[in-house]
């Protein structure tokens, strides 16, 4: 944490835990008898509970979206660029909730939790989750917090898919939906990358079919490789080139397989840090949830029909150099929303940073997201004024 905290930071935050003893029926046909969700909130819920914003996280994200946990934290939450007083998602006006998804590895019930039925760690027995399951679990948390309708549900990448699912599954509970750097379904290429990542993990000799914790080990090499592959897809060729080029770590080539290029060193570093803080079973589960997401598939590949239940206003945002979920994927969604006659706005933001751009500061991105959120805050406050 910086010594003097910026006035646009939410400051120190403490995660909270919500325990649910009502069973959750899952898309895979199995049932979670009880579960816990870890979440953080920023800002204050107004009297009519009409200013709540739900933040949905991406593949490797979690509940810590803004601010700092400890004074000695080096980095703030993953979406700190956009959540805080005076930022796009203004915590002076909104009550912001960010949840660690079920199946995650940052406190919510997941593969590394204990299975109450067996007393063992769930491990690979933890049921596969879908985006719809997450929506249902998040709705239970909203009930707990007394939130009937979210002023907005917001998310990027896998988070954007959750937003879309919220709008379709529980339309009466979403007033506005912001779908950022996402896609209405993965392409074969996307699934292929996910499969390479999964194979990297599953073929690690320390994986033990997912029972690594019972063997007191971790499939670090597999997770490291999976992250390296993933990381390449999150950046653009340009951003990698601009950052590393073909720079060498040493003065000359050494004709061996040790690190020679800066980019190799960077990828190994990214893989190493990730492999010590992320759970392999969770990574497998999250990539599967990505692959499964296909609302149009449930409606004879008719996306406008799939979206027909939605009643909120949509903002769709893509980034020019994102090739993981390219702007064309967002356009597909926008066109389908248009065909379905929904309220939709769309902006394609120029950025050199590829898929990762949705996490980074960018003037135009902030103007678009901020503009949309400002209008929502105005509406909420006007309605609250009328109510009072």
């Amino acid at each position: 944490m910086p010594e003097t905290l910026s006035s646009t930071s939410v400051g120190l935050v403490t995660p909270q835990v919500a325990r649910f003893d009502t069973p959750l029926m899952l898309a895979c046909g199995r049932e979670l008898p009880a579960f816990e969700l870890v979440y953080e909130t920023y800002g204050t819920l107004n009297e009519t509970a009409s200013n709540a914003v739900l933040i949905c996280h991406a593949l490797s994200g979690h509940h810590h979206a803004a601010g700092y946990h400890h004074v000695d934290d080096r980095k703030p939450g993953w979406w700190d660029a956009h959540i805080g007083p005076g930022k796009s998602i203004d915590t002076r006006r909104f009550f912001v909730i960010s949840v660690n998804n079920l199946g995650g590895c940052h406190g919510s019930t997941g593969p590394s939790s204990e299975n109450p039925a067996t007393g063992r760690i769930w491990g690979p027995d933890f049921p596969l989750m879908t985006v719809t399951d997450w929506v249902h679990s998040q709705a239970m948390l909203a009930d707990r917090l007394g939130i009937q309708q979210f002023a907005a549900v917001v998310g990027g990448s896998l988070g954007g898919m959750q937003v879309l699912q919220w709008a379709m599954t529980l339309p009466e509970r979403v007033a506005n939906a912001t779908v950022i750097a996402a896609t209405p379904r993965l392409s074969a290429q996307n699934i292929a990358f996910n499969e390479v990542a999964r194979q990297a993990i599953r073929s690690d000799p320390e994986f033990f079919d997912g029972w690594y914790s019972e063997h007191q080990t971790l499939p670090r090499q597999g997770l490291r490789l999976a992250r390296m592959v993933g990381h390449i897809t999150y950046l653009s060729e340009h951003s990698m080139g601009a950052r590393f080029g073909r720079d060498l770590r040493t003065d000359s080539l050494n004709y061996g397989y040790d690190v020679e290029f800066e980019v190799e060193s960077y990828l190994r570093y990214q893989g190493d840090t990730f492999s010590t803080r992320f759970d392999a079973n969770t990574y497998l589960l999250m990539t599967k949830a990505l692959d499964y997401f296909d609302p149009a598939g449930e409606h004879d590949d008719n996306l406008p029909q799939a979206l027909s239940t939605a009643s909120c206003r949509f903002l769709v945002v893509s980034f020019s150099t994102d090739w993981r979920f390219a702007p064309a994927r967002s356009r597909e969604l926008v066109d389908a929303l248009l065909r379905a006659g929904k309220h939709v706005s769309y902006a394609n933001i120029d950025s050199p940073h590829g898929h990762d751009a949705f996490l980074l500061p960018n003037e135009r991105y902030e103007a678009v997201l901020g503009g949309f959120m400002t209008r929502i805050a105005n509406d909420v406050e006007r309605a609250a004024g009328d109510h009072a």
Binding site: V334, L338, Y346, R364, V368, G370, G371, F372, T374, R375
Partner: protein
């Protein structure tokens, strides 16, 4: 509101489904939706315009009009509006057909190149006209297909569309829009209402 927008506002029926091509900051759509229960979208490529629309609650989609309207189904709207964009398009003729594919009616406003001051500038001074409606110098203008009131009438007829109303205006002052005599000569800006 700009005088041309005010006239267009009057021409839009209550509750219409409207597509506004090059909607700018969304002023027209915001007024139409607040006072005439109009629904629909603006298409825009200018980033400031898009942000302003979002703040106003106007549904705006970033789309380059030169890429066409292929993503919009036939008859999806009651009315398509395009103000001050016809002259910057690569193929205004194709756009006119597209507009009358997605709606039965369209309203188009554009600068009239045959306005007498423009004629004077070119005819007497031998220079490309610069005016309020054509504010750019010849070398940095986005206007690549300037036309006259009469040119546009001819285009509509040639493509088999029906002009149901038209007006010209001078300056941005309100109340100056009318069905003038010799509109081709005396109108600085032209507005056409065209049906299939």
């Amino acid at each position: 509101m700009r005088a041309d927008l005010a006239l267009i506002y009057d021409w839009v029926p209550q509750g219409a489904r409207v597509l506004d091509l090059g909607c700018g900051d969304g002023t027209l759509l915001a007024a139409l939706s607040a006072q005439k229960q109009v629904t629909g979208y603006g298409l825009e490529i200018d980033s400031d315009g898009i942000s302003r629309c979002l703040e106003k609650g106007v549904d705006v989609i970033e789309q380059d009009l030169d890429q066409g309207l292929a993503n919009i189904p036939d008859d999806a709207f009651d009315l398509v509006i395009m103000t001050q964009a016809l002259q910057v398009l690569r193929r205004p003729d194709l756009m006119l057909d597209e507009m009358l594919r997605v709606a039965n009616e369209c309203i188009i406003a554009f600068p009239n190149f045959a306005w007498w001051r423009h004629r004077l500038s070119l005819g007497l001074k031998g220079r490309m006209p610069v005016s309020r409606s054509l504010p750019h110098a010849w070398y940095d203008t986005p206007n690549i297909h300037l036309s006259t009131f009469r040119d546009f009438s001819d285009l509509c007829r040639m493509q088999g569309h029906t002009i149901t109303d038209r007006a010209v205006g001078n300056g941005s002052k309100e109340g100056q829009w009318r069905h003038r005599r010799w509109p081709n000569l005396f109108g600085q800006d032209a507005i056409f209402r065209v049906r299939r």
